[in-house]
Symmetry: C2
Subunit: 276 residues, 2 copies
């Protein structure tokens, strides 16, 4: 999906919501967990219930890998189902990969060609030649970890270099020489509030994928205040708050309710910033 298409979808749907498909068999309602093909069955129900309110889905690979080969099959089915039924959804493989060049090339092939997602999250630690193999696929994106939403983000990401620049800013400014804002986004946690100002100085145009709203405590309003651009420039992810809104038979209905609430707040923010 191109940047232009993504922005059009955001305007049309009045939403920049990404639903995180962090499907944990232990949290899936009992009637699904005990039935056939529980992971895909759950995902399909969540997708059908929430697709009107979001522009993106983000399966986190860890949840699928934890079931080995069976989990991969469920992931492949989920991506195929999205592609066939909701072609306007942007699909993010939240994989946080990154390896030496020839290996990253294989990951790129695996995610973009075999699995067929629009984008993959990549860890920056190994530098340019671990990231560039993911670039150059038309309509495909790299989403590079910059400032994450967890406590451990303070261990290295905020470390200042000799000129006083924190590592996450160096990651953004260095990597923006490898690719433009039409094929690279950055992960920036919502829990980092005011830091969005710093990030917009080094990445004025880039889309930011923002986890940490909801369960992890980040505020949508604050993210928009400091992070929104004239093109929106944000994909805000919610996982647990939506997909586990209820553990009963009404789980899909409750997921839709939570997604709709977020969409409504997002529509307000888009209006407030003159984007709708």
């Amino acid at each position: 999906m191109t940047r232009k298409e993504l922005i059009e979808n955001i305007r049309r749907k009045k939403s920049f919501l990404c639903v995180g498909l962090d499907t944990d068999i232990k949290k899936v309602p009992a009637h699904i967990a005990e039935g056939p093909d529980p992971i895909f069955t759950f995902n399909k129900a969540i997708i059908d219930a929430t697709a009107d309110y979001c522009v993106a889905y983000k399966p986190n690979l860890a949840f699928y890998e934890s079931f080995g080969a069976e989990g991969w099959v469920a992931l492949e089915k989920t991506v195929k189902y999205l592609r066939e039924n909701y072609p306007d959804q942007f699909i993010i493989a939240d994989a946080k990969r990154g390896d030496i060049g020839n290996t990253s090339q294989l990951y790129a092939r695996s995610f973009f060609e075999h699995l067929g997602v629009d984008s993959i999250t990549v860890a920056p630690y190994m530098g340019q030649d671990s990231v560039t193999p993911f670039l150059g696929y038309p309509g495909k994106w790299v989403i590079l970890l910059a400032l994450t939403s967890n406590k451990g983000s303070h261990d290295f990401q905020l470390t200042k270099d000799e000129s006083g620049t924190p590592l996450f800013e160096k990651v953004i400014s260095t990597s923006s020489q490898w690719a433009g804002p039409d094929e690279m986004m950055y992960v920036v946690g919502a829990t980092q509030g005011r830091m969005f100002e710093d990030i917009r100085r080094v990445a004025p145009q880039s889309f930011l994928l923002v986890p940490g709203v909801g369960a992890q405590g980040g505020s949508l309003e604050e993210v928009c205040k400091y992070g929104m651009t004239a093109d929106c420039g944000l994909l805000v992810n919610s996982s647990r708050g939506i997909i586990y809104a209820s553990s009963g038979e009404d789980f899909a209905e409750k997921a839709a309710e939570e997604a709709r609430k977020l969409r409504d707040q997002m529509a307000d923010e888009l209006s407030k910033h003159g984007i709708l």
Copy 2:
């Protein structure tokens, strides 16, 4: 596998060789590629040919993931085959994972419980709570990326902080507060030669997993000169140089030859350093 067992295996086999199972279907000999179950068939032949000369095997997950669910099945079969036939081999899942706490927990479960490997490579960018979920499994190890063997390692890993400490050293010194040298190792590329001296200052006891000897140009002698400890403290990996030593029907025989050559050099180094 405990640290004590690993060191015993190194002494007994006079080797600290790790064979990288970077099995690429495009490089597998034609008679295997065209047969049934090519990835596992190739791995099994390589393992049977080289097990006498090495103490560890390291499948890189990218190569298996590039075949989706089918690749995972081949990986599971490979690990099971090693466990059942060569229980003294240390198995490294070269996965370079790292995610927020509850997700890293799933990866740990997936690799240590489901797949059953001894260790997993982890990327440090997201900090403590992305690494610690992999700790505390008896006999299991985290192998943290510190200074990698690729060109891109210069982009961020060598960035000096305000006190002049490069990031890779900060990663080692900070993370050594999370776990001791009996459950954490570090990846340090052989291409970084003299840097092993700096690393031994911050990680005097830790095992280092060293890629980059051979195909990537690193020198075994230099690695041993600057990196070897009284317990050896090294696992030196070779992938392409061994497993693709020949593309003909004699591939396994040639792989054994290359592995034996490296084992012989390693036996010399172990003697030279008074370890045998």
